[in-house]
C-alpha cells in the first residue's frame, strides 16, 4: 500500500497506517508527522521524507526503513523490530529500548540509548554510522551500542559524559584514542577484534548502507563496560 502523507495531520497518517491491511506500506512526502508506527508489530514500513518525533516509539516487531533524517526520540521504549535510518537521527534515539535494532547511517544527537536494557532474549542494539552527541548510553543497563565514526573527520566519535551511570550492557567505539571525560564507573579497553554478535551488527550496517565490510569489522575498537570494581551506587545508612 502507498500513502501520500502530503498535507496529512499526524493522527490521520497514523490511522491510515494502522488501518492498512497490507503488510508492506510505503509512505511518501512525510513532513514532520509524529508518532509514526507507534507500538506497531506486524508491518514493513518504508518512509520517504522527514518524520517528526517519536517515530517507532514502543515498536513491537515491525520494521521501518526511513529514507531521510529522523527527528527526536526515534524508537523510544522500543521492544522489538528494526529501524533503519538512511540519514542522521536526533536526540534521545532509542531511549530505554529493550529489544530490536536501530541502524543509523549518519550521526545521532544527544542522549542516544539512555537507559537501554536487555531482557531475556531481547538484546537491543543501536549502530551509529557517524558520531554520537554527548550523554551517549547514560544509565545503560543492557544491550549493545556501536559507534563507527564513519566520515567524521577530526571530530571525536562521542561527546561528553558517555556512559555516565552505566550499569550493564556494552558499547563499542571505532576510534584510535579513548574518549576524554569517561566517568569512573566505565571501563574502556582496546580490542583487536570485535565479538561475532557485534560483527554481525556491523555487517548488517555495511550491507544496509553499502559500505565496505572489512574497513569496519577489521578496525580497532574500544569496548566500554561498567566497571564492577567501581559500582555506581551511593552508600546509604538506615535511619
Amino acid at each position: 500500500m502507498k500513502i501520500d502523507a502530503k498535507d496529512m495531520a499526524c493522527e490521520q497518517l497514523n490511522a491510515a497506517i494502522k488501518a492498512s491491511a497490507d503488510r508492506k506500506i510505503e509512505v511518501t512526502d512525510v513532513v514532520g508527522q509524529r508518532y509514526i508506527a507507534t507500538a506497531c508489530s506486524d508491518k514493513e514500513i518504508e518512509i520517504h521524507g522527514t518524520p517528526g518525533n517519536a517515530m517507532g516509539a514502543y515498536l513491537d516487531g515491525a520494521t521501518i526503513a526511513l529514507y531521510g533524517n529522523a527527528q527526536e526520540a526515534t524508537g523510544d521504549t522500543m521492544n522489538g523490530g528494526e529501524i533503519d535510518v538512511f540519514g542522521s537521527a536526533g536526540d534521545a534515539t532509542g531511549y530505554a529500548m529493550r529489544g530490536g535494532k536501530i541502524f543509523i547511517r549518519g550521526d545521532v544527537g544527544y542522549r542516544c540509548g539512555i537507559h537501554m536494557k536487555a531482557y531475556r532474549d531481547n538484546k537491543p542494539a543501536i549502530v551509529i554510522g557517524g558520531r554520537a552527541g554527548s550523554f551517549l548510553g547514560e544509565y545503560q543497563a543492557g544491550g549493545t551500542i556501536v559507534v563507527l565514526g564513519d566520515e567524521i573527520g577530526d571530530k571525536p566519535v562521542v561527546g561528553y559524559f558517555c556512559g555516565t551511570g552505566m550499569h550493564g550492557g556494552e558499547m563499542y567505539l571505532r576510534c584510535d584514542r579513548i574518549p576524554v571525560t569517561l566517568p569512573p564507573q566505565v571501563k574502556a579497553e582496546q580490542i583487536d577484534a570485535i565479538p561475532s554478535d557485534v560483527k554481525a551488527l556491523v555487517e548488517r550496517w555495511c550491507k544496509l548502507f553499502d559500505k565496505d565490510v572489512k574497513t569496519y569489522t577489521g578496525a580497532k575498537f574500544f569496548k566500554l563496560t561498567p566497571d564492577s570494581e567501581n559500582p555506581y551506587k551511593r552508600m546509604y545508612t538506615s535511619n
Binding site: T38, A39, D76, Y95, A96, H115, A118, Y119, K233, N239
Partner: protein, 502 residues
C-alpha cells in the same frame, strides 16, 4: 570510638503472662525474641526492634507491649535525640540517611485546620439512608467540541473517561517495593469496589492482567515493564514525573531485591540494579511531556486517559497549568507527606509542600485560566480519613489517591522500615516466608471494608451539608472554613475563616 545508640523503643514482656510459646520468636524477622535455654524464659533484644507491633498482635496471651524508651541525652530544644543520633549514624558510616514512608515531622497539617459545613433550618440536611447519594465520579478531560454528523445528530467528542464508584484510588506502589500478595489484595479490592489501583513503576505481573479494567499502569523514567501489552491491558496510563516523598529524586532498587519474579515483571535481568533516573531524559519541557503523552495515546489508539503525576513543589500551579495544556487528561498531585518504600531522609523531611495548599492553588490557577475542564485533578500525599477526602474534594480534587491508608488496612503498622525488606506484615518484602503472611483474601476484604466505610462517612457528611453528589461538592470551598490559620494561609487555601458567613 564506641558509639551506642540506645533503642528508641523497648520491648516489654509481662513474664507473669508469657507462656514461652515462642510465637513472637517465629514472627519476628528482625530476630528480637529468643528463648533462653538456660533460664527457660523468652528474652528480647530491643536494639533490633523496629516497632512494627507484629509480636504484640500475635502474642496469644497479650504479654507484649512496645514502649517509647525514656533513655535520653541531656534535653536540648535545638539538638533533640533524633538529630543527635542521625549525626552519630553518619559519622559512623559516611552514608546518606535512608528512610521509609511519609514525612513524620511536626509540620502543619492543613486538613486539621479546616472545618466542614452543615445545613440547618433553611437548607435541610439529607439523610443518606433514605435518599439517593451519588458518590460516582468520572476522571478525564471534559472539553468537548460540538459536532454534528450528516444527519444532524451530535457526534460524541468526549475524550475517554474513567468511572469511579467512589472518588478514591489506591496510589502507585510498585511490585518490588511491595509484595505479590499486597498487589493482589489491591487489585482484587479495586475490582470489587469499582475503583482503580496503580502498578507503580515496576511493571505489571502477568497474573494480574485479568484485573486490567481496574488497573492504572505507570510509565516512569526507567520505563520498567513498559511495552504494548502492558499499555493495552490498563484502564489508564500514568506518567510519573515525581513523587511527594522525594521530589526531584529517582529510585534505585538494588539488585539484591530483584528476585526472579520481580525481574520478569520489570523486564530486566535477575539481580541487576533497577535505576530510575531522577528526570525523564527525554522530557525537559512541557512540549516534551506532550510528546510522551501523545505517543502513549497513539500507542493505545486514544482509548485511555493519560495521567501525569507530579510532586507538590513550590511552583506547582504554573507546572500544572502546563500539564493541563499537554494533552494529559488527569493531573495527580502528590503532597510532601506522601509515603515511599525508601527515600533519603533529608529529601523526605524537607522537600516539597503539603498537598492541601498545592491542590488549592492548582485548582484556582486552572479555573482562572479557563482550563480547569481540560483535566481532572487527583490529590494524594496523606489522605488519612474520609474527612481529609471530603476536604480535598471541596478544595477542588476530583478524586484522591490513598497509599499509606491502604497499607494500614492490609496490616502495616507504620514502623517505617520498608527499605530493610523485612516487613513482618508481608507487605514491603519479597521474602517468601514473610509474603505468605498477607492473605490476599483478607487483604482485599479489609481494603474493601475501609473504602466502603469511607464511602458511608462521605455520604453522611455530604448529606449533612445538604449536598447529594460528589460532583456538587467538587471545588465547593464555601463548604469549608479555616480555623487557626493566618489570613495569608486562608487566602492560599481560598477559604473563609471559621465564623465568617457566606
Amino acid at each position: 570510638m564506641q558509639t551506642y545508640i540506645y533503642p528508641e523503643y523497648e520491648v516489654v514482656r509481662d513474664r507473669a503472662k508469657c507462656v514461652n510459646c515462642r510465637i513472637c520468636e517465629r514472627e519476628c524477622a528482625n530476630g528480637v525474641h529468643r528463648f533462653d535455654e538456660k533460664l527457660k524464659v523468652m528474652v528480647e533484644d530491643s536494639a533490633k526492634c523496629v516497632n512494627c507491633h507484629r509480636c504484640v498482635c500475635m502474642c496469644p496471651v497479650h504479654a507484649l507491649k512496645i514502649v517509647k524508651s525514656d533513655d535520653t541525652y541531656k534535653l536540648n530544644a535545638n539538638w533533640d535525640n533524633r538529630t543527635i543520633n542521625e549525626i552519630f549514624k553518619q559519622a559512623d558510616s559516611g552514608g546518606v540517611l535512608l528512610s521509609s514512608m511519609g514525612n513524620p515531622n511536626t509540620y502543619p497539617i492543613f486538613w486539621d485546620n479546616l472545618l466542614i459545613n452543615a445545613s440547618q433550618v433553611t437548607n435541610p440536611p439529607i439523610d443518606p439512608l433514605r435518599e439517593p447519594m451519588e458518590t460516582q465520579m468520572w476522571l478525564g478531560s471534559r472539553v468537548v467540541s460540538i459536532r454534528r454528523d450528516a444527519e444532524g445528530k451530535l457526534v460524541d467528542t468526549l475524550k475517554p473517561q474513567l468511572k469511579l464508584s467512589v472518588p478514591i484510588m489506591f496510589s502507585a506502589m510498585s511490585y518490588g517495593s511491595i509484595s505479590y500478595n499486597a498487589h493482589e489484595s489491591l487489585a482484587r479490592a479495586a475490582s470489587e469496589l469499582g475503583i482503580y489501583y496503580n502498578t507503580g513503576e515496576g511493571g505489571l505481573h502477568k497474573d494480574f492482567y485479568k484485573y486490567g479494567a481496574n488497573t492504572i499502569v505507570q510509565v516512569a523514567s526507567g520505563r520498567f515493564g513498559v511495552f504494548r501489552e502492558y499499555l493495552d491491558t490498563a484502564a489508564a496510563i500514568e506518567i510519573k514525573m515525581g513523587q511527594g516523598a522525594k521530589p526531584g529524586i529517582g529510585g534505585h532498587l538494588p539488585g539484591a531485591k530483584i528476585t526472579a519474579d520481580v525481574a520478569e515483571t520489570r523486564m530486566i535481568p535477575e539481580g541487576a540494579d533497577a535505576i530510575s533516573p531522577a528526570p525523564h531524559h527525554d522530557i525537559y519541557s512541557i512540549e516534551d511531556l506532550r510528546q510522551l503523552v501523545m505517543s502513549l495515546k497513539e500507542a493505545t489508539d486514544y482509548k485511555k486517559p493519560v495521567f501525569v503525576k507530579i510532586a507538590a513543589v513550590h511552583n506547582i500551579a504554573a507546572i500544572a497549568s502546563g500539564i493541563a495544556r499537554s494533552g494529559a487528561d488527569v493531573i495527580a498531585i502528590d503532597g510532601f507527606r506522601g509515603g515511599t518504600g525508601a527515600a533519603p531522609t533529608r529529601i523526605r523531611d524537607n522537600v516539597g509542600i503539603p498537598v492541601e495548599v498545592a491542590l488549592a492553588q492548582v485548582d484556582q490557577r486552572l479555573r482562572e485560566e479557563g482550563i480547569r475542564d481540560n483535566v481532572s485533578i487527583v490529590a494524594g500525599g496523606s489522605i488519612r480519613s474520609s474527612g481529609d477526602l471530603l476536604k480535598a474534594i471541596a478544595l477542588g480534587a476530583d478524586a484522591c489517591y490513598i497509599g499509606t491508608a491502604a497499607l494500614l488496612a492490609m496490616g502495616c503498622h507504620l514502623c517505617r522500615s520498608c527499605h530493610s525488606g523485612k516487613c513482618n506484615w508481608g507487605i514491603a518484602t519479597q521474602r517468601p516466608d514473610l509474603v505468605k503472611r498477607l492473605d490476599p483474601d483478607e487483604g482485599a476484604r479489609r481494603l474493601v471494608n475501609l473504602v466502603t466505610a469511607w464511602k458511608h462517612e462521605l455520604e453522611e457528611m455530604m448529606g449533612g451539608m445538604g449536598i447529594n453528589s460528589v460532583e456538587a461538592l467538587r471545588g465547593n470551598r464555601l463548604m469549608l472554613r479555616g480555623i487557626g490559620l493566618t489570613d495569608r494561609e486562608l487566602n492560599i487555601l481560598g477559604v473563609k475563616s471559621a465564623g465568617e458567613s457566606m
